[in-house]
């Protein structure tokens, strides 16, 4: 049954490469304005889900429904979605400003207002002073902001993130986590975020989808994952690993206070 709040509904999605089953009967929904993290180890199929959602891959079978419309085979640019890749895929020969503006200039819908949109986004993303810099002269965090701004420029309902913070240092990650949540509150976008980092998923998400080997183990709120893990895998991969991290942290903090 489709909840009226659901912006996205994934039904019985199967995907294989040659003989290997990558995704096995994937079903889930995403609510409007929700921040959903897809959490799992490398090779579990989480990036494949993202590429299917955006339309860069097509499933063997199953349906992707957005706002009640079947978009399984719709062209990626017509899905109302944007994506931020792990390596950002910025246009190296263009400045930050031009990176954000380029797609707008080619789109009759945005062309007339392109400069205004870019300037607004540059202010919003604290990038104004870096507008004329090329990607090679931007830090990792700044590059990511440009990539997000470029995605926001086309005004998507849903933004997908493919492990965008894995190459950043801890401090930048913490800053960007907050900025991302602030952005979501401002623009009311639905965000689907891929990560293999439990702590990151717990810090940012409204709900977390835990995956392994092409299957979903549990989709739930962070609290429920801890209090009611669906199976041993969730218990081990999520709860146990987080506990180990927390214990280690508390031990060090305790030591500091004792000193």
């Amino acid at each position: 049954m489709n909840d009226s709040q659901d912006i996205l509904e994934i039904k019985n999605l199967f995907y294989s490469v040659e003989q290997k089953q990558i995704l096995n009967d994937i079903n889930f929904t995403v609510q409007n304005g929700e921040f959903l993290s897809i959490l799992g180890p490398s090779g579990c199929g989480k990036t494949t889900i993202l590429r299917l959602l955006i339309g860069l891959l097509q499933p063997d079978s199953g349906q992707i429904i957005k706002n009640g419309q079947d978009i399984t085979f719709t062209h990626p640019s017509k899905r109302g979605m944007g994506i931020v890749f792990q390596n950002y895929a910025l246009f190296e020969n263009m400045t930050a400003f031009e990176n954000i503006e380029y797609a707008l200039k080619l789109n009759p819908k945005f062309k007339a207002r392109s400069k205004d949109i870019v300037n607004e986004l540059l202010i919003q993303m604290n990038l104004m002073e870096h507008a004329d810099k090329k990607p090679v002269n931007l830090s990792g965090g700044q590059q990511q902001r440009v990539a997000i701004a470029r995605t926001l420029a086309i005004n998507p309902d849903i933004i997908l993130f493919d492990e965008p913070m894995s190459a950043l240092d801890v401090e930048t990650r913490l800053v960007l986590r907050k900025e991302l949540k602030d952005l979501q509150h401002k623009y009311k976008n639905t965000m689907i975020y891929i990560t293999h980092d439990q702590e990151e998923a717990f810090a940012m998400s409204d709900r977390i989808m835990v995956m392994s080997e092409g299957k979903i183990h549990q989709i739930d709120t962070p609290e429920n994952l801890i209090t009611h893990p669906a199976d041993d895998y969730v218990k081990q991969f999520v709860v146990h690993n987080l506990r180990v991290k927390m214990d280690s942290l508390l031990k060090h903090l305790g030591g500091m206070y004792e000193k």
């Binding site: 339309g55 062209h75 190296e92 086309i154």
Partner: protein
Amino acid sequence: MKSKLNWIQVVLGCFFLFAVIGPLLTMFLTIDIPHLTAIFSNKAFKAATYNSVVYSGISAVLSIVLGGTAAWCLTRSRVKFKSFFILILTIPMLIPSISHGTGLVILLGANGILTNLLGLKLPLYGGLGIILGSIMYSLPVAFLMFYDILKYEDALPYDMAEILGVNKLRQFKDLTLPYLYKPLISIIFAIFTLIVTDYGVPLTIGGHVKTLPVMMYEDVIGLLDFVKGSVIGTFLLLPAVVAFVIDLLNKGNANASYVRTPFRLNKSFARECFSYLYLGLITIIVLLPLVTFAFLSFVKKYPMDLSFTTYHIHRLIEMEGLVYLGNSFIIAISVAVIGTLGAFVTAYLSARIQTKTSYFLHLMTITSLAIPGLVLGLSYVLFFNGTLIYGTLAMLILVNIVHFFASPYLIMYNTLNKVNRNLEDIGMILGISRFNLITHVIIPQVAPSLKEMAVYLFVNSMMTISAVSFLSNVATKPIALMITQFEAIMMLECTAVVSLIILGVNIVVRTIALRN
């Protein structure tokens, strides 16, 4: 969309199959068993095979040792002016192989400058001349191949070996040799093939010592014996095909690691002294023939009359030199433009559109690497004879594009493989067409490689004497072939002028195009 591109890949792959394999098959089909047995039992053929293998083998080994040592000096010592040495060492790549032969004749021939100056009496015409000329011709290539390999070697294992107290000899045996093993095999075959398939050096300086390419050249040009030419051509394909296959097999593991620690070299007086001396000596040896070209071009008659003259230039003009220079420009510019565009499109299709046919296209494109120019030229004569294109400049443009296509293609293929893999995805999501993405994003990113490709095609088309030698006529002859013509009538001063013109044009083009 992808299936359409898939089809383009197949069509392009088939084009290369047609452009390379088609003419070759025609050449094979001209061979019959009686001719084959007659040629194989021919004494002159046996002698030429022996000469080719022995002299090319010796030249290749010496060239590799000399080029390898120069590369070592420039990558493992703290000598200054490295860019200058690299520039000088690669200059001989800008003149035809035949110029290296004439350069040696001018320097060390019976009446050569060094012969007269130092009172030398070298038996230059024959095996020694072939060896020396072939070294001069192949040294820059051997040097560049070694330089690229040594430049990208990781210093970390050596740092670890130092920490563990492993001595230098053991480091060389256990680290350097295993690292060099595979590339060295590729270099040996590549240099041997380069020398064994060249006719320019042995034609000028071989005297009575004939090699297979010279025999093939004389049989086809002088006697119009296409069957014998085809047999020798097929024979010459063997080392080239072996070199190609070995290189293909070796490449699989070549780029296993992208992360490398650069060498931090301590000062070493002995090493630096040796490097300066060695590089200085090599530089002089490389520059000497080029200087003599300049000298000989403007003296009346060496050694009798050393007064300044522009007579040889006028002579060249009288003999339609400007027309042939014009032909060379038309050919070189057309090859550079069409070849660069074609190589970019092909490389884009095989490197960026991952389908089942990508590898087919890639393989078909690099097949021309296995075909020596002389063999390609003869096969084109047999394949295109009687067609509209035969005997036109378009024929020479086509054969040069096919002959030189693989190298610029590989430059672009490797460059495009390093460009962010997600760009096309982002373009698709943001509604940017593939054409816009290529012209506005990808081409600006790969522009330096495009320039490099165009220069490679231009320079090689200006100086080639191999594939074009059988296909050109009085109206379409490129200027490089005038060297063969002048050499045959012993007009050494005019060969020097032509070599100098080709060198000058190539240096100017390379400098202007790659100045940034």
